[in-house]
């Protein structure tokens, strides 16, 4: 038992924090928001220079090895800058293929995905219709779906690979509240689809990865909202004092710290539990996803309130954090849903 970063993990954290702080600037992110929500140059250097797109993917598959702890470190750093990257979609899709794909599928898709040339998105729905190697169905809220070259799509029975340029695939982009991660609706009408042999296992891995990604991003969002607000509270004076000297203000910041520290425990507990295959991984994942998203929203909401009028403007970055935080709460299962899963584990089914 040693529940702090190893030296290597601390180094990765320092590197990725530096990378996002330097490159995922407000200016670049806003430029991406006006487009499809992806800063292509940032994604390219993330994948190739840093080689971080392969974290959590085995080295024999061309990945960087390592595990969910290191992946969480990366997602936390990306979240702290609300970076406009297809990180969530990519990581879920890559894990699904790495865990559930055939050797041929892995060889065909992973190198391009890890190299940043192929953008993949992952989504699920309740039921699809399969008919002789084709798939029909509708997948809503596909993150960065309009930018994807490849879809990893699943229902409770399995998972399939579908090329975006195949006939029968219609992708509708949506103007989305969080412009750094716009949603699309993907409709398949007898589109050619290739099943993943280990589809169910692949989807489970994708879902776990997604929960960890969302939770770690939430931690990054929350911590950044706090840090930026603390900095502002020292500069801004009213009534002849820095506003950070008022107790009503300080106590609100302190409440943010209390939630953030618990979130940090939650995120790295979940990542560790998945890496170690611990029995409590399931409860840890539900805890991390629900708790972190709520903390991110609480902190981003406070960021706006504690900045006063400037926090409500488009010009200030507070709304980027706020909108990302809101999206984190809803995606991949609401907080209520995750808590109900925990309740079911300890109380049995509701009725």
């Amino acid at each position: 038992m040693h529940f702090v970063f190893t030296e290597e993990q601390a180094m990765i954290a320092e590197t990725v924090r530096g990378f996002f702080a330097e490159h995922a600037t407000s200016e670049r992110t806003r430029k991406a928001m006006a487009g499809d929500g992806i800063d292509r140059a940032l994604w390219a250097s993330f994948c190739t220079e840093l080689g971080l797109s392969g974290i959590g993917i085995a080295e024999e598959l061309g990945g960087a090895g390592l595990g969910m702890i290191e992946f969480a470190i990366v997602a936390e750093a990306a979240g702290s800058q609300v970076a406009a990257l297809p990180l969530l979609s990519h990581a879920m899709a890559a894990r699904a293929i790495a865990v559930g794909g055939s050797a041929g599928q892995q060889a065909e898709w992973l190198p391009g995905m890890l190299g940043g040339e192929v953008i993949a998105a992952c989504a699920g729905t309740d039921a699809v219709v399969q008919e002789g190697g084709t798939l029909s169905g509708t997948f809503r809220f596909v993150p960065h779906g309009a930018s994807a070259d490849l879809f990893v799509l699943g229902d409770p029975t399995g998972a399939w690979l579908v090329r975006a340029d195949t006939s029968g695939v219609t992708v509708t982009a949506h103007t989305t509240m969080d412009q750094t991660r716009p949603y699309a609706t993907v409709t398949l009408a007898s589109a050619a689809a290739e099943a993943l042999p280990g589809g169910s296992a692949g989807l489970v891995a994708a879902r776990e990865t997604g929960w960890i990604c969302v939770a770690a991003e939430g931690l990054g969002v929350a911590q950044a909202a706090l840090d930026r607000t603390v900095a502002y509270s020292r500069e801004r004076t009213q009534f002849g004092r820095p506003i950070g000297s008022f107790q009503a203000y300080k106590h609100r910041l302190a409440d943010m710290v209390v939630e953030i520290e618990q979130t940090r425990s939650a995120v790295y507990w979940a990542a560790c539990a998945v890496d170690e295959g611990a029995d409590e991984a399931a409860v840890a994942l539900h805890a991390a996803k629900s708790f972190a998203a709520d903390t991110a929203f609480m902190c981003a909401g406070n960021m706006i309130q504690l900045h006063g009028g400037i926090g409500f403007t488009w010009e200030h970055d507070a709304h980027l954090f706020f909108k990302r935080a809101r999206a984190l709460q809803s995606m991949l299962g609401s907080g209520e849903w995750h808590r109900e899963q925990v309740a079911t584990m300890i109380l049995g089914e509701a009725a």
Partner: protein, 392 residues
């Protein structure tokens, strides 16, 4: 980063569990599951001695003083198994977790010889004399006076909230020894024997009807000149050093006691049908998650060896557990409904969950109120300007 314990550590866990469960099924079965701090005090002193006889009383201490030089992981394991076995809280926890480590860190060789064997053996029970009627959150404003007279300290004043003073043998007291000094300056840390004509202990009846806390009056109370830890005027430094020990491994044992409380609520919810209410289910899930996060927060805090930076997990730990437990008490009452408001017999005495509801109102006050905790987090953690101080 690693959560799992080694095979060797799991063996140690088994050893702890077997011994503790054996005791609770055997000679000490009459104290199993007691949740108040005061019930069966005499038996629990015997339990302290039983722990000592088997070298379980202070495993984290150095072996030359009766400990086992236990590693952090072993201490974590022992604390968890202790509570899991339903063993009641330690009546000498102040001696083992606060007084002992303080003497080890700041005491002279002679003081170690004089105090540590008795504490380790469960023969010397300690209590803490910090708060005063006029010095609660503002601890540095203590007024209890100490003066040296014919080679002895003579102490006059009053302490309050001295928990377990009525069953303790010794008390450590922060006294103002420099006439006219203010705040943290001019204070001295003294160890005093309670059984003497100059000290009177009166219980304070609490909202749950129990009297765990006391007022302690000092009227020309005495102790030897060499009963002070640190030097004259170093009392604040020693007191702060002592408080740093408060966030040690014992927090994990405390969490297992919380685990038992939450398990009782879960059992009650299944019995009353509250377990089918979706709002109660959400709250139970939140409580479960909060408790797990408390464990991992404590493990982060204990694993951290880099003390050059403020540790956020440590700084937020008090307000986190206190607020969590107060909510747990409210959840207990919502699960029990009106049945939670009925005592079992004619006396004003409460079963575990009703007592939890009442007692947990103290959690967010003692050891630094939630409001003071928020000031500390903002000032020490975030480096924001300090609250302005009055002249008094």
């Amino acid at each position: 980063m690693k959560l799992g314990f080694s095979a060797e550590e799991e063996l140690f866990r088994q050893e702890c569990a077997e011994w503790l469960q054996g005791q609770m099924a055997g000679e000490f079965r009459d104290i199993k599951g007691i949740s108040t701090l005061t019930a069966k005090a005499e038996r629990r002193k015997e339990w302290e001695q039983q722990l000592a006889a088997h070298k379980w009383s202070c495993i984290g201490w150095p072996s030359e003083w009766g400990g086992r030089d236990a590693t952090l992981a072993q201490q974590v394991i022992f604390a968890e198994e202790y509570a899991r076995a339903g063993v009641p809280g330690r009546v000498n926890h102040i001696g083992i977790e606060l007084a002992g480590p303080t003497i080890l860190a700041f005491g002279t060789e002679e003081q170690k010889q004089r105090f540590l064997p008795g504490i380790a053996a469960g023969q010397t029970i300690f209590c803490q004399g910090f708060s005063e009627p006029g010095a609660g959150s503002d601890l540095a404003s203590v007024r209890t006076k100490g003066r040296l007279e014919n080679g002895e300290w003579v102490v006059n004043g009053q302490k309050i909230w001295t928990s377990l003073a009525h069953i303790s043998d010794w008390i450590f007291v922060v006294t103002r020894t420099e006439e006219g000094s203010k705040g943290p300056k001019g204070l001295t840390f003294l160890m005093m024997e309670l059984d003497q004509p100059g000290i009177e202990v009166r219980g304070i009846k609490q909202i749950n009807g129990d009297a765990e806390f006391n007022e302690t009056f000092f009227t020309d109370a005495r102790c030897a000149a060499d009963s002070m830890i640190g030097g004259v005027g170093e009392g604040w430094k020693i007191a702060m050093g002592l408080l740093a020990f408060e966030r040690g491994v014992s927090t994990l044992g405390q969490q297992m006691a919380f685990r038992n409380e939450l398990d009782e609520i879960i059992a009650a919810a299944k019995e009353t049908g509250a377990a089918r209410n979706p709002l109660i289910r959400q709250r139970i899930a939140k409580a479960e998650i909060g408790l797990r996060l408390m464990r991992y927060g404590a493990l982060r805090m204990l694993s951290n060896t880099d003390h050059s930076k403020i540790d956020g997990a440590a700084l937020t730990y008090k307000i986190q557990w206190a607020t969590w437990r107060r909510s747990l008490g409210e959840l207990a009452m919502d699960v029990l409904g009106q049945a939670g408001e009925l005592a079992e017999g004619a006396d004003y005495e409460w079963p575990v969950l009703s007592n939890l509801f009442l007692y947990s109102r103290a959690d967010t006050i003692y050891g630094g109120t939630n409001q003071i905790q928020r000031n500390l987090i903002a000032e020490r953690g975030l480096g924001l300007p300090r609250e302005p101080r009055g002249d008094a």
